[in-house]
């Protein structure tokens, strides 16, 4: 009897230990294995930690890539990465003066372009900073030190060389040193050139410079204007120039809209969406901000506004921006809402030392790190996938279908304002105003809450109209009867 009890107790203890150890391992594993925080900002701009939307999926380095049986060697300060329409990934290996072409899984080398056929002569790159591939499969390389943009076809023959652009607006001593390049569906070429503050340079299909594009305005504060007014001419000449910031990264969406990042010292707008006329048509969302981190106070090197260096248009109006300052990736939707933030600086797998470019790949997202000379890959988690899909459904106008996804998001992250907003809007369309109000209240969505509230109020009034009117009638009659009786009493008193 005693023995049995002892065995039972032991068994119980053992299972208890196993259960706690097992569940404990899962929880700890899910939270701490990532080398970065993932978070978002809520309505009040407080940081709200979320599950990771993306998790590291390895790193591609040059020494582990083989072409014709030989290692291609380490990438040296690579500066740009680009995906072609057929799925291949082009990497500008700037320090080695070559362009490396990888397959869509980033495991095999398809080609290494070190030289090309320039009208019968063999020609090479010098510090190729940017790469882009057009829909036709032509390769555009911003050949920085050769001061030109080279356009190659699939057989490495030169189709076009854009160099030494001539225009009145450029001035005489302008040196064309392209940094980033992209090309739209009509083969117009958009180039960010070094030291060119007037905007993105646009070239037509023949390589002729046409105009500047998306010029960033300079906003002087009242105080700066005041001091400029007070200064004498000599003082003004010695003052620093107020010049707009340069563009840093560029991408194009299938409709021909250009996404371009710049470093905004105010941290309000670091990414632009430019229509074909060069006007900025980005939507800034509830916080009126597409500038990365909202909480940037502090005096350390790590504090300060986010510095976006590249942007990638993904799908369904979603785009991701890469922050050089803290190595974070900010993902926005077409309405300018922050979907999620992840990533960080460091030397662990999944962190960056000097991130320079971002691109979508089959795995998920790829970030090019210039210092580490590698491509860091990220794969989507359930949380990230749910948000991407739900935002995609909303983009297509199927908000009702997105409800299931948003509900699952709420299970993973119970204060997610986007999810609450999405569910609330769906209930609003379905006519369940009271439930809609509850979710829209949690999402702090004033506009839609007000719509739901007005309809709910109307419904309430309509349903209870009889009761309201009856009460009103009773009160009016009551008052009149009371007055009448009082008058009669007075009259009686006067008579007596």
């Amino acid at each position: 009897m005693k023995k049995k009890k002892l065995i039972a107790a032991l068994c119980f203890l053992l299972t208890l230990v196993m259960v706690t150890a097992f569940t404990g391992e899962i929880e700890v594993g899910a939270i701490t294995s990532l080398p970065y925080d993932s978070y978002n900002y809520d309505y009040r701009e407080n940081i709200h930690y979320t599950p990771a939307p993306y998790e590291p999926a390895g790193m591609v380095v040059g020494t582990e890539l083989y072409y014709n049986g030989e290692s291609i060697g380490a990438l040296k300060t690579p500066q740009d990465i680009c995906k072609s329409p057929d799925g291949n990934i082009y990497v500008a290996d700037t320090g080695n003066n070559r362009v490396v072409v990888l397959d869509s899984t980033l495991t095999k080398v398809v080609d290494v372009i070190t030289s090309f056929n320039n009208n019968g002569n063999e020609d090479t790159f010098s510090q190729p900073y940017g790469v882009a591939v057009s829909e036709k499969g032509n390769l555009y390389v911003a050949d920085n030190l050769n001061k030109r943009v080279v356009v190659l076809d699939k057989d490495k023959n030169v189709i076009l060389i854009v160099e030494n652009p001539q225009s009145i607006t450029l001035g005489n001593n302008f040196v064309f040193q392209p940094l980033k390049v992209t090309v739209d569906y009509a083969d117009r070429i958009y180039v960010i050139a070094q030291g060119q503050f007037e905007g993105i340079m646009v070239f037509d299909t023949n390589g002729e410079f046409t105009n500047f594009f998306g010029t960033i305005g300079v906003n002087l504060s009242l105080w700066q204007k005041f001091w400029r007014r007070m200064a004498t001419k000599e003082e003004r000449a010695n003052q620093q120039l107020y010049i707009p910031t340069e563009f840093t990264g560029i991408d194009v969406d299938p409709e021909g809209f250009i996404y371009a990042t710049n470093i905004d010292p105010n941290g309000i707008q670091a990414v632009r969406r430019l229509n074909p006329n060069g006007q900025d048509v980005i939507r800034k969302g509830e916080n009126e901000n597409v500038g990365g981190d909202l909480q940037t106070a502090g005096t350390s090197d790590y504090a300060g506004v986010s510095q976006f260096v590249d942007v990638v248009y993904r799908e369904n109006g979603i785009y991701s921006c890469l922050d050089r300052k803290r190595g974070r990736i900010f993902t926005y939707d077409n309405e300018g809402n922050l979907l999620y933030i992840f990533g960080g600086r460091g030397t662990q797998e999944g962190t960056f030392e000097l991130p320079v470019a971002i691109e979508t790949v089959d795995v998920g997202l790829a970030v090019l790190d210039a210092t580490r000379g590698g491509i860091i890959l990220f794969q989507v988690t359930e949380y990230g996938r749910l948000i991407n899909e739900a935002v995609g459904l909303r983009f297509d106008g199927d908000e009702a279908e997105a409800v299931g996804l948003w509900e699952r998001v709420l299970e993973l992250d119970e204060d997610n304002e986007l999810a609450n907003s999405g569910i609330g809007k769906a209930y609003l369309t379905a006519g369940e105003y009271k439930t809609a109000m509850k979710y829209l209240r949690l999402a702090m969505n004033r506009d839609y809450y007000s719509i739901a509230f007005k309809r709910y109020r109307n419904e309430l009034l309509k349903d209870n109209a009889n009761a309201f009117l009856t009460i009103l009638l009773v009160i009016i009659i009551g008052i009149n009867v009371f007055k009448f009786v009082k008058k009669r009493k007075k009259g009686v008193a006067a008579d007596e």
Partner: protein
């Protein structure tokens, strides 16, 4: 004590609100007002302010409820009340004002009533307004605050027997006096802190030496 809270004095609060010129005049000249009632009204004002912050519908209310503490706000409102009274008193003493500190306290305390009323009514109204109907909420609150400010001005004018121009001048000077009081208080607390630190370090030195 019972005299200060008599029904007559409570009724006189409402008389003052509807007839501010006469009301404040007799507060000064016939002791119709009551300081304890004025303080209670200020406390009610503070609570109505907190109520508005916490309970007004989120359509019109941008305050983070997690950052609201009614007792801190009460302390702040009472400190401000004291500061205004003392500031005004110290200015009007030098400028031929007839009012006593007691009268100033009553004048300002009674003037908070419309604002208290405004906060409570607009909080109730806010439960029934949508985003584009915020104007109703704003107008109620705005009118009540404006009436409160007018009452305060009339109160100060009447208890000191000033003209309107002189009242406005003293109000500006009162504001400056408040700033000076705050400055002196900060200076004092800083210096007292230094003296305390000195004594504390001498004490530590003695303790560690022996």
């Amino acid at each position: 004590m019972s005299k200060a809270f008599s029904l007559e004095k409570w009724k006189y609060v409402f008389y003052t609100l509807s007839h501010p010129m006469d009301g404040y005049y007799w507060i000064r000249h016939a002791d119709k007002g009551s300081v304890p009632i004025a303080i209670i009204l200020v406390v009610l004002f503070s609570f109505s302010f907190t109520t508005n912050e916490l309970l007004a519908s989120f359509v019109v209310n941008d305050t983070d409820p997690r950052g609201v503490n009614s007792l801190y706000e009460l302390a702040g409102v009472l400190a401000l009340y004291l500061l205004i009274c003392v500031g005004n008193w110290s200015v009007t003493c030098l400028m031929g004002g007839e009012g006593r500190l007691k009268d100033i306290a009553i004048a300002i305390g009674y003037a908070t009533v419309p604002v208290t009323f405004g906060f409570i009514v607009s909080t109730i109204i806010s439960a029934a307004v949508a985003d584009d109907e915020q104007a109703f909420y704003g107008i109620i609150l705005g009118v009540c605050i404006a009436y409160g400010l007018i009452l305060m001005m009339i109160g100060i004018m009447q208890v000191h027997n000033y003209t309107l121009g002189k009242t406005l001048l003293t109000l500006i000077l009162t504001f400056l006096a408040m700033l000076i009081i705050i400055f002196v208080l900060l200076l004092l607390s800083n210096l007292v802190g230094k003296v305390y630190n000195f004594i504390h370090s001498v004490y530590l030195e003695l303790v560690f030496r022996t």
